[in-house]
């Protein structure tokens, strides 16, 4: 589960020399279908997520992107009527296998949500360290962790003088970066982001995109976005989801972002990326 295991497989230099398209697979889904009650919302999704790359999931509203991303860290099952078929592999192991503890999965596969959700009862510093307390993870040097993760999230300079302030004082963009820092403090290997910028202004969006690019040197990022320019700016790989009247959400096309946007093979992808629907 820790990054140390991979150092035997590939050295850092080797890894950096790999293009995003041939890095080793960190996570993959095999034939994932999802239901809410009797309604099937996703059908046969097969995607590979490569280590230390950014994968964007795009598609019109209601196509199941957010539902899909929540199956990747077992948050989907918290909805009472939820059902799932297929398998989700993380480092080659099925995260839905009976012996797997969902708490451990969520610890390794972090998530940032659409709406910034800092814990209102905690300070800025308390929020960054919240994951350690909540998961019971022991890491020394809390001051260092706070500075490191806030710097990585691009928030350190704005809050370094008021780490003891209530998290509720931050603006929406700052709160979202705080939440990113919080998710980094537990050292996830994969970070899921569900439309992390949809509630933010362009300035904050830009900062978070820079943060994503920086982070992708060390962790695998999967991001749902409605903003196609954002997908082009941050993602190495893109998957296009679509749900039509008769058919539940499915992947129409996936591949390198440059291909999806520059040379799509499917007419529907072409129409979508050019803003003709959705």
């Amino acid at each position: 589960m820790s990054t140390a295991e991979y150092e035997n497989v590939t050295t850092l230099e080797e890894e950096l020399s790999l293009t995003p398209d041939n890095r080793p697979v960190e996570m993959e889904t095999r034939d994932v279908s999802v239901w809410f009650g009797k309604r099937k919302v996703l059908e046969g999704v097969n995607i590979e997520f490569r280590r230390n790359s950014v994968t964007a999931l795009i598609g019109p509203s209601g196509c199941g992107k957010s539902t899909f991303i929540r199956t990747l860290n077992r948050l989907h099952e918290l909805i009472p009527s939820a059902a799932l078929a297929g398998s989700v592999l993380y480092e080659g192991n099925d995260i839905y296998a009976p012996e797997v503890d969902p708490v451990q999965i969520r610890l390794a596969i972090g998530m940032v949500f659409q709406k910034p959700n800092p814990f209102p009862s905690m300070t800025i510093r308390g929020n960054v360290l919240a994951g350690l307390k909540l998961s019971g993870m022991k890491r020394p040097n809390h001051d260092e962790i706070v500075e490191q993760t806030l710097t990585a999230a691009g928030l350190w300079n704005e809050v370094k003088d008021r780490l003891g302030a209530a998290a509720g004082e931050l603006s929406g963009g700052q709160a979202q970066r705080l939440v990113i820092a919080r998710s980094l403090a537990v050292q996830p290997t994969v970070l899921l982001m569900d439309e992390p910028c949809s509630a933010l202004d362009p300035g904050s969006t830009l900062k978070i995109e820079e943060t994503i690019r920086q982070l992708s040197k060390e962790i695998t990022i999967i991001i749902v976005t409605h903003n196609m320019q954002q997908a082009v700016r941050v993602a190495d790989q893109t998957a296009f989801f679509l749900a039509t009247d008769g058919q539940p959400g499915h992947v129409v096309e996936q591949g390198p972002t440059t291909e999806i946007f520059g040379n799509p093979q499917d007419q529907r992808t072409l129409d979508y990326v050019n803003g003709r629907f959705g």
Binding site: F119, K133, L134
Partner: protein, 358 residues
């Protein structure tokens, strides 16, 4: 006008002379006349009636002044702003009228308790007990110290039992979300309708008559806890529901167990509300008399042991004294009522203070 911007310094002093105004507050003279008439006419009619008729004042206010003011405001509104404004006038005047009416009722109650209660209140009254005092003893001897202690003891026992149970029930409903939730919610709701005398009877028949407990503060605390539990559980449920689900999923996504989500995220976020739930629970029971008559009975001595002997509390003290044929005993009851109200007020202020500090 040329395209170049020239600085004309003659405009500057004028700008500085501007004063803050409220242009929307300027009224035409017709408006002022209509409003003055709409206020004066009903007031004059009522004053005349008050002086020259024998109709009692409160009847004039309710049966004459209020309808007259309503009609006058409607006519004034129609004259100034047209027929659509009449509905506005009716709603606003009715709201103001209803508020004044309820305030008058509440303030009269408060005024009666304060004026009568103050006659009894003294240092001795607060700190002494009722031992060696008979109902005919004049004011200045004896007091309610034993009853204040009794109330504090009984309420504390019930809070220690009912608050954790109520909060955990709310946690079961909102956080655990088990299969029994609809039934639990139904029973909690049904229990909040249990008459207080039934709670007292239950403790009496199940614990006291069977010899498990004596008539004591603890038995009374159990009866109070039965009454407090639904209030605490329902209020805590409402405030826990207000905690956004985002926080729960956010905490789960950090690898948190559900227990830690509840203890470290949900309950801290709802802390103020949970304190409120506890206060509402205490406020619900603190004045209940019937359960005490069946479980705690009365005792003129100061009792500190919550298990061994009967104990008086403020409601039972009031109940006892208000029925006495001696004016001083009745005044003592008012004094105890005032003390009870002060205790509740202090309780509310304290918790406001603590919850504001976060």
């Amino acid at each position: 006008m040329s395209a170049t911007i020239t600085f004309d310094d003659t405009t500057l002093p004028e700008l500085q002379q501007q004063k803050p105004e409220a242009p929307w507050g300027r009224r035409t003279s017709k408006f002022r006349t209509v409003v003055i008439l709409a206020v004066l006419i009903p007031a004059t009619v009522v004053t005349l009636l008050f002086w020259f008729s024998s109709i009692p004042g409160p009847v004039i206010m309710i049966a004459v002044y209020f309808p007259l003011q309503l009609v006058a405001s409607m006519i004034a509104a129609i004259a100034v702003r047209g027929t659509k404004a009449a509905a506005d006038a009716v709603i606003i005047v009715s709201a103001i009228g209803a508020t004044i009416f309820s305030m008058v009722v509440l303030i009269s109650v408060l005024w009666t308790i304060i004026t009568k209660g103050l006659q009894a209140l003294s240092g001795a009254f607060i700190f002494q007990n009722n031992e060696y005092i008979s109902p005919s003893t004049p004011l200045g001897y004896g007091g309610i110290g034993h009853a204040i202690l009794g109330t504090v003891l009984i309420v504390a026992i019930s809070a220690v039992i009912a608050v954790p149970l109520g909060v955990m029930t709310a946690v079961y409903i909102t956080e655990v979300r088990g299969r029994a939730v609809p039934y639990v919610r139904f029973f909690v709701q049904a229990m909040s309708g249990v008459p207080s005398v039934v709670a007292g009877l239950f403790i009496l028949t199940v614990f006291i008559l069977t010899g498990v407990l004596d008539n004591s503060a603890f038995a009374a605390g159990l009866a109070y806890a039965i009454l407090m539990l639904p209030t605490v559980a329902r209020t805590a449920e409402e405030v826990l529901k207000l905690v956004p689900d985002d926080l729960r999923t956010g905490a789960l996504a950090l690898g948190s167990t559900r227990a830690r989500v509840v203890l470290r995220v949900v309950i801290p976020a709802a802390k103020t509300g949970i304190i409120t739930a506890a206060i509402l629970g205490v406020a619900r029971v603190v004045g209940e008399t019937a359960p005490l008559l069946l479980t705690a009975l009365k005792n003129d001595k100061t009792v500190l042991n919550p298990f061994s002997e009967p104990i008086s509390a403020l409601p039972t003290y009031i109940f006892d004294n208000v029925a006495q044929p001696y004016p001083d005993a009745v005044l003592r009851a008012w004094g105890a009522a005032l003390t009870l109200m002060i205790i509740v007020a202090v309780l509310f202020t304290l918790t406001r203070f603590f919850s504001a500090k976060r």
